[in-house]
């Protein structure tokens, strides 16, 4: 465990700390390869086969193949790395954020236009206890 993990109390937030950086090494390094156009093409041509180059866990590979963005983050992915996968899919950071946190793109867009998600009620996991 990191020396100071008080941030674990922040709800809906995964801090890319030493445990996650170790857990997500291969998932994130796969994402780095998508900075080359020829790799993006090769990945898109056969995603499952492409992923076999990286010794990640089955759960990590499944999260990538199903584009479960929250699962990727929970399994050690970092948004700036998975952002390369998003870009490969033609998705913006906003579209991915909406997939992770809202019911729809429109709902997320409207929330942002209205000033964003308030910090009130979103500081501590204790405030999220009653959420469904």
């Amino acid at each position: 465990m990191p020396i100071n993990a008080a941030y674990e109390d922040i709800p809906g937030t995964v801090v890319f700390d030493m445990d996650r950086a170790r857990q997500g090494y291969h998932l994130n390094m796969f994402c780095m390869t998508l900075m080359k156009p020829e790799n993006r093409v090769a990945f898109k041509a056969n995603e499952a086969e492409y992923l076999k180059q990286f010794p990640m866990t089955e759960a990590q590979a499944k999260a990538i193949l199903s584009r479960d963005w929250n699962a990727m983050i929970n399994l050690g992915g970092n948004i700036y790395f998975t952002g390369k996968l998003a870009a490969t899919d033609g998705l913006s950071f906003q579209q991915v954020a909406a997939k992770m946190s809202a019911n729809s793109q429109e709902e997320y867009l409207q929330m942002m236009l209205a000033g964003g998600r308030s910090v009130e009620g979103n500081r501590s996991k204790s405030e999220w206890k009653n959420r469904g």
Partner: protein, 281 residues
């Protein structure tokens, strides 16, 4: 003697770069964002800095989990624009200033900061978006740029106070350079935002505006903000604001506020921007 005359704080939201590159600046969503930088473009065009030092974070572009330096200074002649997954932004490569950069490295390392020396480094939106909002879309950037990178991605990341002290060391280095150069320092990133998880989209205007106020009138007050407070109060990626502390540390204690702009939203982020000039310059 070289001298830092002013500091610029600005968000570096990639979508702002995309809006510029795709000719969308006149759209109702983007118009107010770019309007906030009109005065800034005029200000810097008139000031004509000889060099800009740009403090930003690499977003896993030049660096990855293979290596991730806490602090680094670009000492190269030229930096290509990174392909972050959608092809490189159509902006000019960034030209460096190796003489001043190596001098800064020499001086700052002797001041107890252990820097990574970066000669070959692709630069991403963290650097190119601040250049675009300040300089527009020229065929080449108007002056050499010295990139200064700070790790705010892979924890543990440096504290705001450490970043502020780095700014002071950079200032001392610049002032001991033997050529007359007018230098502007950029601190980039933030303001409140969170890109991932079920809390994505978090914005805290009160936090951001207090940070901006303190930056002008009481910079020491911002140094006490802990990592936990940045994350909890202003979203996971608000940690980027520690890079504004480098910029502030490089200025005089007393500064004049030349311009300020704050707007929500740009993509997932609160856009904050400030220009501070040293009073004695």
């Amino acid at each position: 003697m070289a001298k830092i005359v002013a500091g610029v704080g600005t968000s570096h939201v990639p979508a702002i770069g995309a809006a510029l590159d795709n000719g969308r600046t006149g759209e109702p969503y983007w118009k107010p964002v770019f309007a906030g930088y009109e005065k800034s473009k005029e200000w810097i065009a008139k000031l004509k800095p000889d060099v800009c030092i740009a403090v930003y974070n690499d977003h896993a572009s030049a660096f990855s989990l293979e290596m991730f330096p806490t602090f680094g200074v670009g000492a190269g002649e030229e930096y290509p624009i990174a392909d972050e997954g959608w092809g490189p932004r159509p902006v000019p490569p960034v030209k460096g200033h190796p003489d001043l950069a190596w001098h800064i490295i020499q001086s700052v390392v002797q001041d107890d900061f252990d820097l990574c020396i970066c000669n070959k480094m692709a630069v991403d939106h963290g650097l190119s978006v601040p250049l675009s909002v300040m300089f527009g879309q020229p065929s080449e950037w108007p002056c050499p740029i010295i990139p200064v990178i700070v790790n705010v991605v892979v924890y543990p990341v440096p504290t705001g106070k450490r970043c502020y002290m780095l700014g002071k060391a950079i200032r001392k280095a610049v002032e001991s350079f033997d050529k007359d150069l007018k230098v502007v320092i950029f601190g980039t990133g933030g303001m409140s935002h969170q890109l991932a998880g079920q809390r994505a989209g978090l914005i805290n205007k009160e936090f951001d505006n207090r940070f901006l106020d303190n930056l002008v009138h009481d910079p020491a007050a911002n140094l006490d903000i802990t990592h936990l407070e940045y994350l909890r109060e202003a979203g996971a990626e608000a940690i980027e604001l520690v890079m504004w502390q480098v910029m502030r540390g490089a200025l005089d204690d007393e500064v004049n506020e030349i311009h300020r702009f704050y707007h929500v939203p740009a993509s997932n982020t609160a856009v904050g921007h400030i220009i501070l000039e040293n009073k004695k310059s």
